[in-house]
Symmetry: D2
Subunit: 469 residues, 4 copies
């Protein structure tokens, strides 16, 4: 029921495996399943046996794209995979990843999570020199730059490229004999690596991807770092000064709670946000309920801190997927109830504290509040583990809704009235910073809350449709 | 990842709409979505305009079967639908429902949730008289009996049939001008009805199906009652003395927490089970964690009663569906981790109270316990909101695993050792009874726990493959 | 481009294999491919291993229904199959064959080619006794009658049934241990059997089906005969006096030219029709051209007899199948040209003799004539190897166009004017009879030409939608 | 049953429409249907409205790729399409056409029929300069060269490119406002254009494509010519001296008989070949039969010249398509019989003249001969309307079987013995030349017969897998 969602879109996920002994396709497939929350629009897996490369990709969930079989090849030993976020609009099969190409140095495949802020200029300059582009993805810009580099080795070519591109990029690159992972110097998006008992190396956007294939976490790919895996083993190379700006929204909403990103447990951060919300808001009430699933962890934290009982107030239908038939306008209300249904017993006559992660457009919150009042809620106080989102993101989040950001146009008081709630509290930026107990809060990006962008907004603001990879 | 599941299978769900003003196909579709948890193997919707009937059904989820379009017809005004539980084995398209047929009285369609205990005998007797059977479903037995009844009206034919069949049956029947719902005198499976603001009548296995289409709950179809809806309105007819034996497992596991069955909120019952488990077990620990999602509500109840904090210990992957590629044996461990991943931070060094609804074969519990210890759990006490399941169910639950019921072969001490947990507590039958605060606990069936079957086990025990509708 | 076709629809094809050594599914699949011209709407294959039966069937061509795999079973040794003609209208999956059922005697599967003339009465009578019908096929009527027979053996039950049903029926029946073929006493539709070098017995609607699986022709199933194949071998049983009325249209149009039906080569009959047309019409011209493919053989015969050269005048597109996107009305002309394209060189300035098999509605002939004149034909004389079709068929041909039979409303002169041809000649009934050189012409049905129906038209003429199997 | 075919593979077909009034997608779809014989592996249609471009392409037949819908866009006015030949091997979705790209000048789409002989060098040189290639098609080489051209206009860029590429190429190019067709100076592959009554311009590989959309033939795109269609109308530009070498195999086998290529009717040429075969071989016999469909026209010519009757001896199954389930080895014979079935009546005791177009590997001919003898043929004389194929083709024909060319290794006598025929006659090269009655025989390429290649075989002979577009 994507069309009813007003959440910011998750961006993408990348995964890579290098193994002479394990089934790299199957591991990549499992890894992508674990990263599925980062992108539901398309999925792809590329493999190599050292001579040939093959890729299988398509629109849909991992389970749909690989319903019948995985890409197969004798003696395959490297695999990279990609999941892409869900979007509305026309089928864009050509924009699926990994992207695979021949260049002077042989075959290369690339999967990308992020968004370049200078892609348009780079693309234009290459077009002037006679380059053609078959997709609208930054990934193709990066591939062309690597191919055009005059450096000798693939590592140097990639580093030269990484120094020219700006913005957010986590790359997972496969050549005929190497698996290479690279993270931009800001580290906007997460990327880490690990090793299985069988000695296979694994790259994953989030640590939950390592867990699923039984790989032990080695380290995050540091901002400004490149990790090269080949027959000689793994080598981490610093290619740029880090200027760390990890995305705060990864902790608030995007990442899986069981992931640890740059040392910080996502679940712990969210739990802390809930506790801090309890302390900051000082709200009291009969029960704490969550907007499932995004508000669950913070709601537990709020309940823990406030000693107010946490119980279920809204039930989420687990079966609503991409194939939903659109109701006509008059039946639209049904579609909302289909997604979330209140438990009347727990709502009626109660003073409720309602916990969610964030408010983007406010329309969903408005519907939920209305639904709860209809079931007899006495009062509703809403708390949010993200501060008001006032500014768009240029680093890999779908900001197609940026003109509709309610907090950029309305005051908190106005939002409260719009969504029709008795009380409304957003976590403070300081409170959010305090929630990070295992990562330096200064190394985190809060630009969508405070307009403090770590990278020059080069060609940002032009009226183009962004495509995030 | 059905093959990894060791839960008892949900049975089926039925839904029906009678409306001269609303879109009955679309409402049925929404209703089936809300009942999807009751059956993921197949789905079907039948409609009539008073002259013709049409049905569209297929294997898979509601969203898959009706990916493209719903059954359509000018002036359709009655619709019935069915979802069927997930099973392994060959494609059984012929066993999908609703079943539609011509008989001397015209066209009739039937959707059934339950299991007849005397179906085999009835079928044999009719075969002796020259009747053929094109499916293996009880539904076809019932249809044939209705057609063979010498009574005058369809209501009388159905009642005559209902008096001859034994076991569990909730029927949703559509003729060319009537929508009829009927529940066996024991009321094993739930069934209720409601009315929308536009005056449309709705039948649903659970009240959550009424909620989604905006119908206000009128009443449960009482055990031994038939409800007839036609142009004259709705009429409830008692056709048999009730001997109420509502399935306790509906409250423990099958039904959606936001449903109210026979007056009892499912969420409230589960929450109470958790509280009672806390009181009975007297377990203490650092944290309460749940096996998601089946243990969530009881875990909250345990936490509420014990004051021990409830936090997330295991994260469930929301994207694992029917299309999962089977890993080879050596990668099977990945498939388990793919489904549930522990949050190491919350586990390490903790005395854990782990809450789940029930243990069937014990294999999944064993894997989860092992997973938690690997992540550093200091101790694990497991509590279950169902007593030990020692006996099979003959009333609509898939008992294909009945020979593997761990509690029928092992003592609690042995189970504890098998799954490798420090402490293990099953709710007492008395505790379970106490959890029902809005329904008379004596009107509930506990046969799978205590062998006290409300219906003679006629042809039960014979070595046949049961097919549950 | 079925919707543009105005040909009478082929009816159905049946096939059966009994073999302890060969792969009965695969042979049945090959056999259905050879009989595909008899039905393109749906296909199905049923198999048994002596204990279980399984069936796989679906809408579409043999190659589409069995795209992925054939029905499979350990030790399967009997298989029957069915192809059904192409029809417009809603998807009728429930009407696919073979039909499989349980009855008191065990499992039985049936495939039927033909049309019962008393099906409606039989159905009504059974409904009165409480029988339900899940399809609209005569096949289900026959199955019920077999099941209701009080005779002892399956052979007797089938014979009893065969004596009660009237009209056209070729049955291919599979029980758990027998393969049975039966043909009505009129022999309207063809049916024959053979044996492979490996000793497998094969039943086929046409002898071309025997050829493809390498079976040597043994004999036709005689009108009024039943053939039973089991572990004791093959036994032919006469169950009724034959009153032979083989369909003349099988020879004119339906059957494959490489088939021999009841001793008569189809190709030879068509070739003879062409020769007789030349003799009867005495037409002269520059060239003989055919409307491909239905007129090809007769055109060769005409050329042979008249010594006028036979060359290609119209080219048929081989790739137009079921999946054709419908053009809007203004582009409809394109769809016609897509199907048949004239070769201008051969047309321009020529006196043309155009050969086709028959005229049903006349619209296609009209379009073809017009097309040829546009390409510069000097004159066109059209000859047809069927006499004018004036009367509907009740024995297995789709007569949904019967109200549109041009020859039932118009004289030959009027038809000539309607289709805009210079001269028009239909073969005489005597000429048609003379074309049969290896079968007694008196044993052939010409009812659609001369209204001399061999079977009482019991419930014929009632306004019901016929369903032909 | 592609795998049983030993014919040379058809190459590709291109189509284009420019129309402000007609539906360009639908016309392109019809055009591709008419050209389907030139390629059954994949199909694609690209469209533009002057601002955006969209393409829909996929593996399979036109009817399969566009089963649901055509590419759609408001105000679309140009469309180009492509069909690609059938090949075995892995799915190569990335190699489907038209190829669409952005370059400095805007958007461009290209469809290509032919094969460049210097593609490998061109590709290598561009790779050295940093160009990446995402497919293995020559089409991408051409697109890159156009984009890299420093000329001012798109026409000049294309001409510059056309002068640098060598071999066979018929291009259909779409920019945001122009439809451009171009043919190499040798004219290996056919290309023509026409205009509908509504004033729409149409490009087609063969004239049968013009016929289907109702376009009147204007002219062939001459070898060395470019045709540009835009709002100003149509302009034909000569860009190179023609050195005409039209492929003789287009007339012998590839093209549709109803097409006229470079003034020569294909049907007439084939008919002439048959007549010449009769004169040259002086074979006598009872009947002339054809290997359908490739030998049909020549067989009619042979019959015409020799006065020996032409009748059907082999019947081809019209329903065997891509979806054929492969039989195991022992059932392979069935697959052969499924494709072609002899008519025993016409074969038995006859002295047969068997006409086919060509022998590539000889295996199919061998099977057919054997089949005919089994059916009682007294003697078989085989004649072929192509001389022995001794040399591979480098201009767009799949020569993957070139090592298996029976005539490159065996003498005619040896071939005769291998295929087991009584007599065997190949048309002489002179005879073949004489069959062309409306085109100068000196303007035709006979390289595969006589090794006289019109273009230097630059990188020919290297051991690479050719990919033909």
């Amino acid at each position: 029921m994507n069309n009813l969602s007003t959440k910011w879109k998750e961006e993408c996920g990348v995964f890579g495996v290098y193994s002479k002994v394990e089934d790299v396709s199957l591991m990549c497939y499992f890894g992508l399943y674990a990263l599925q929350h980062r992108g539901q629009e398309s999925a792809g897996i590329a493999i190599t046996n050292g001579t040939n490369m093959d890729v299988k990709k398509g629109m849909g969930l991992v389970g749909e794209v690989f319903r019948e079989h995985l890409p197969a090849m004798e003696n395959k030993f490297i695999s990279i995979g990609h999941v892409r976020y869900s979007t509305t609009g026309s089928s864009l099969l050509c924009n699926t990843q990994p992207l695979i190409a021949n260049y002077a140095g042989g075959k290369i495949a690339l999967a990308h999570n992020g968004n370049l802020t200078n892609a348009k200029n780079l693309r234009r300059n290459m077009e002037k020199d006679g380059t053609i582009f078959q997709t609208t993805m930054d990934t193709e810009v990066i591939l062309n730059m690597i191919a055009k580099s005059q450096r000798d080795t693939i590592e140097e070519k990639i580093i030269e490229t990484a120094k020219k591109i700006e913005g957010a990029f986590c790359l997972c690159i496969m050549t005929e004999d190497k698996l290479i992972a690279l993270r931009d110097k800001h580290g906007f998006r997460p990327l880490c690596y690990g090793k299985t008992k069988e000695g296979s190396f694994v790259i994953s956007s989030e640590s939950c991807g390592l867990d699923v294939v039984g790989a032990d976490f080695i380290d995050d790919v540091m901002p400004g770092e490149m990790v090269v895996i080949d027959k000689k083993g793994l080598q981490a190379i610093r290619y740029a000064e880090a200027n760390c700006n990890v995305c705060s929204f990864e902790y608030i909403y995007f990442a899986r709670p069981d992931s640890i990103l740059d040392g910080q447990s996502v679940q712990q951060a969210r739990f802390n946000m809930g506790r801090i919300l309890a302390k900051e808001s000082k709200y009291t009430g009969d029960i704490v309920i969550s907007v499932p699933d995004s508000g669950n962890t913070a709601a537990m934290g709020f309940a823990y801190e406030s000693k107010i009982p946490y119980i279920e107030g809204l039930i989420k239908n687990r079966y609503i997927g991409r194939t939903f038939i659109q109701p006509t306008q008059e039946k639209r209300e049904m579609a909302v109830r289909l997604k979330l249904n209140p438990i009347a017993n727990n709502i009626k006559g109660k003073d409720i504290i309602l916990v969610d992660d964030s408010i983007v457009r406010g329309t969903t919150s408005k519907r939920i509040i209305s639904m709860l009042y209809k079931k007899g809620a006495k009062s509703i106080k809403m708390v949010l583990s993200a501060p008001p989102i006032k500014y768009p993101c240029y680093y890999g989040v779908d900001t197609s809704v940026r003109k509709e950001l309610i907090a950029s146009a309305k005051s908190i008081e106005e939002i409260k009235e719009y969504i029709g709630v008795d009380n409304l509290y957003f976590i403070s930026e300081k409170g959010l910073r305090d929630a990070f107990d295992s990562i330096d809060p200064n190394k985190i990006c809060y630009a969508c809350f405070n307009n403090d962008y770590p990278v020059l907004k080069n060609d940002i603001g032009e009226d183009e449709k962004f495509v995030f990879e």
